[in-house]
Amino acid sequence: MFKPLTHLQRLEAESIFILREVVAECEKPVMLYSIGKDSAVMLHLARKAFHPARPPFPLLHVDTTWKFREMIEFRDNIARELGMDLIVHINQEGVAQGVNPFSHGSQVHTDVMKTQALKQALDRYGFDAAFGGARRDEEKSRAKERVFSFRSAQHRWDPKNQRPELWRLYNGRVRKGESIRVFPLSNWTELDIWQYIYQENLPIVPLYYAKERPVVERNGMLIMVDDDRMPLAPDEKPQMRRVRFRTLGCYPLTGAIESDASDLPSIIEEMLVARTSERQGRAIDHDASASMEKKKQEGYF
């Protein structure tokens, strides 16, 4: 018997449709793989969309060189296990200039090592479509983002120049140099993501699970001391605390939460009673309430 689709089935089918549409219409797509839970879901959906073929595009990871070590290890394992091509791009100019989150601040670091680096990578390989794992429920300004987000040859997002999206009729046509960012998870919520990870039994970076980790407290955030590049103030001493992460990024910019949730059901449970929403853990979002808007116009994902 055929039963009407449930909420998650509907979301899954919709994402698969989007992934297939891009592969059919665009010349050179790539998947921006950021190693986090959303990327895990997006990659899994791509495997479903093209089965029995392998997803016909490479993964691109823009490495700021400040990611958690466990993220990098996880990334390399996944790519190897699934037989996916993985492109790792680092902004070497930024490295040469010694850009880092401590001396340059989160804004400059993110701009140079993430935003600029992403543009460099897209230009170098000439990708005309890039899948990203952003969701509309993450942040107010994203609620209005299209599924297919058009970018000029300078990678700029012009809020006035976006294409209306009716029905399932996405328009992925671009001229040379222009590109489309595609968000197959647009209509997923954080809870949907976790439920899906649970249902599909997807591997995720262990940092999502609570464990004793060395942290220091800064500006009200718990920062994990992931390696010895992190400068400590004289009175700062890393303490072992039982923590986990709700989002993953550059370790000096990502706040941990104290938690006992060491398996998926307890993470989901914790989420349901969450007292803070997920982006609070990201230092970059604290700046101004409309800052996301500006970053998007500049090409930040």
Partner: protein
């Protein structure tokens, strides 16, 4: 949503997994309280996390209109620029859930871009919540919102009569509005309407029952949204699936990936592939999670067929006994979404299902006044206008009338130069059975006609301002070609306007039609084997492109006769610029009508640098180099 006990979590997740989704859109005019309502729904559904609430409270003090109280509207406004202006600009999607259902809200604003945004919201929604300010009642915009929602596929409407607190929670006011609305809605076909009196600000009848309106017995808005059954049962329709992508990982596997648009399919089912009409049977329904016994509407699958038949992206696989119609000539409803108006005759790409085909709007029947629903004669469609038109596609496609199936019944139009999405529409019906009209294959064809003249036919298309020197160059060129024993003909703008196009003026719409006719005429002449010289201002890129597309590759030679406006105006051989400047002639190219210079003409002649004789040498050189002066049947 209460936190479940640890052991209950598995059960909780299982419950979640069976929830369905309701996607609805909200529409109302500015200040009807739409943002307040959505904010209230999000707030009440307790999915607003505490830090969002903290930001919200800070924002309310800075920007809010509610003093120290929470301004729910700020919860849903997003883009910085919009916030400063205090209006929402686009469709925004919000998410919330209750114990019974998950919801996606498309928030559509009420300002001038309304039609485009509302259509977008409606196209992806199951239901529309239409807001009315109780003090104002049914307004023009209420009618407009209802019409657009129903046109773009909404069958269920909630009439949310808001701000009841400002009319003393008076039942008579509510009843009056509902009666008005029902009377109007009769003209819209089968809309299911539920009306709820509420105060979004105070929370009456949003998610909790109002004490102030004991006279109202119906459900609260949220109760209704949680329980309403929407849409049609697509599973009961005949099977259709558009092929999105051909999956061919190795020589042993060939599958057709797509999303089921309607009906059910099982292995063994006989199918037809449209538009080719080839038949086969389904042998497997492949998914990552294993082969399926049955697939239905909304499911993304990969079908393997029993026979090696030719199937590609855009084809529709359909139930063998009940295939959808195919056509290349259709009557449609069209919503225009671009700043540049739509003129019949221009070429666009049409995307429908997984098809992308060149298309021309051949005939604009009329426009619809979305406020009064009256039809108006129209020569063009402006931004946000809706019209009824006939379109012609360059290839036959499988389709369904929109009323029968939205997936196969909807389309968008894409500008061929900018790639922008400029229109959206609905198929109404096929204008003919395209299969009945067979193109007359004549036994003497273009190649034969050209061969006997020992030449290759082509169109040499001169574009440029009035007085730029097109006719002079065209005339000289034709003489030279004639001396070379070439068979030629020249179509000149002024001459054609005295005969074939006598009925056309100089409005943008007429200019498009002017060029379309000349393009078709030039095409016939090329078919007759002639080297055809066209000397027309032809100011618009899209028309020149349309003519280019009419001809075979290489047959269209665009020559830009480039003379600066000041020079043309100085020459003014016919005294036209003087008259245009004096206001005696309207829509004069270069003065009060635009000239769009070619971006990549085959030949660019700068008349300030070369004499007409030199220009013709340049032209002949180009034709020689392209092999057009040699004999040969093409």
């Amino acid at each position: 949503m209460a936190a479940p006990a640890p052991r209950a979590l598995e059960r909780y997740l299982a419950e979640q997994a069976t929830k369905t989704t309701l996607r609805f859109l909200t529409c109302g005019s500015v200040d009807d309280g739409k943002s307040t309502l959505i904010g209230r729904l999000l707030y009440d559904s307790k999915l607003i996390f505490e830090d969002q609430l903290a930001t919200l409270q800070a924002d309310s003090r800075r920007l809010g209109t509610q003093g120290e109280n929470i301004d729910f509207a700020l919860l849903v406004d997003g883009l910085a620029a919009e916030r400063e202006q205090g209006i929402t600009i686009d469709v925004a999607y919000r998410f919330f859930a209750t114990d019974r259902r998950k919801f996606v809200v498309a928030d559509c604003p009420g300002h001038e871009q309304y039609t485009r945004n509302m259509a977008t919201g409606a196209s992806n929604a199951d239901l529309a919540v239409i807001l009315i300010d109780a003090r104002k009642g049914v307004l023009t915009q209420t009618r407009r919102h209802s019409y657009i929602a129903s046109l773009f596929g909404i069958h269920d409407v909630v009439l949310a009569v808001n701000k009841m607190d400002l009319v003393g929670y008076d039942q008579a006011v509510f009843d009056g509005i509902v009666t008005d609305y029902r009377r109007f809605a009769e003209g819209l076909g089968a809309l299911r309407i539920t009306a709820v009196p509420m105060s979004a600000l105070q929370g009456d009848n949003v998610s909790t029952r109002s004490d102030a309106m004991p006279w109202y017995q119906g459900p609260t808005l949220l109760e209704h949204l949680e329980t309403v059954q929407v849409g049609r049962d697509l599973a009961e329709q005949p099977f259709r699936m558009a092929v999105q992508w051909v999956n061919r990982p190795n020589l042993d596997f060939r599958g057709f990936a797509g999303t089921v648009a309607s009906g059910r399919v099982r292995p063994g089912d006989a199918v037809q592939v449209l538009p080719s009409g080839r038949r086969s049977a389904v042998s497997r329904i492949v998914t990552f999670d294993g082969d399926l016994e049955v697939a239905g509407p909304g499911q993304a699958v990969t079908l393997v067929l029993a026979d090696e038949i030719d199937v590609s992206r855009g084809d529709v696989i359909a139930a063998g006994q009940q295939p959808p119609p195919t056509s290349d000539q259709l009557a449609v409803h069209l919503l225009w979404m671009s700043e540049a108006p739509m003129y019949p005759g221009r070429q666009y790409y049409l995307k429908s299902g997984a098809n992308l085909v060149p298309c021309v709007v051949t005939d604009l029947k009329h426009a619809v006044n979305v406020n009064t629903l009256e039809t108006l004669p129209a020569k063009s469609l402006d931004l946000n206008e809706i019209g009824v038109a006939n379109i012609s596609l360059s290839a036959r496609i499988a389709f369904e009338p929109f009323a029968a199936n939205a997936d196969l019944g909807s389309f968008i139009l894409i500008d061929r130069q900018s790639n922008a999405t400029v229109g959206a529409g609905l198929f109404d019906f096929s204008l003919r059975r395209a299969d009945n009209i067979v193109w007359q294959a004549l036994s003497v064809d273009k190649a034969h006609r050209a061969a006997i003249k020992h030449q290759r036919p082509a169109v040499i298309w001169m574009t440029g301002l009035s007085g730029s020197g097109k006719s002079t160059i065209a005339n000289l060129l034709e003489s030279r070609l004639h001396d070379l024993n070439r068979h030629t003909y020249t179509l000149d703008g002024d001459n054609v306007r005295h005969g074939l196009n006598r009925d056309l003026g100089f409005t943008a719409a007429d200019r498009v039609e002017n060029i379309r006719r000349v393009g078709e005429t030039a095409k016939l002449m090329v078919d007759a084997g002639l080297i055809t010289i066209v000397s027309f201002i032809s100011p618009f890129r899209s028309e020149r492109r349309m003519v280019r597309d009419l001809l075979a590759p290489g047959e269209f030679i665009e020559v830009f006769v480039d003379t600066p406006l000041e020079v043309c105006e100085q020459r003014d051989p016919k005294g036209l610029y003087r008259r245009a400047r004096a206001g005696e002639i309207q829509n004069f190219t270069g003065i009060d009508s635009e000239y769009q210079a070619p971006e990549a003409p085959e030949l660019h002649i700068r008349t300030t640098d070369v004499s007409p004789e030199q220009a013709v040498e340049q032209l002949l050189g180009y034709l020689e180099q392209r092999g057009l002066l040699q004999a040969g049947g093409g």
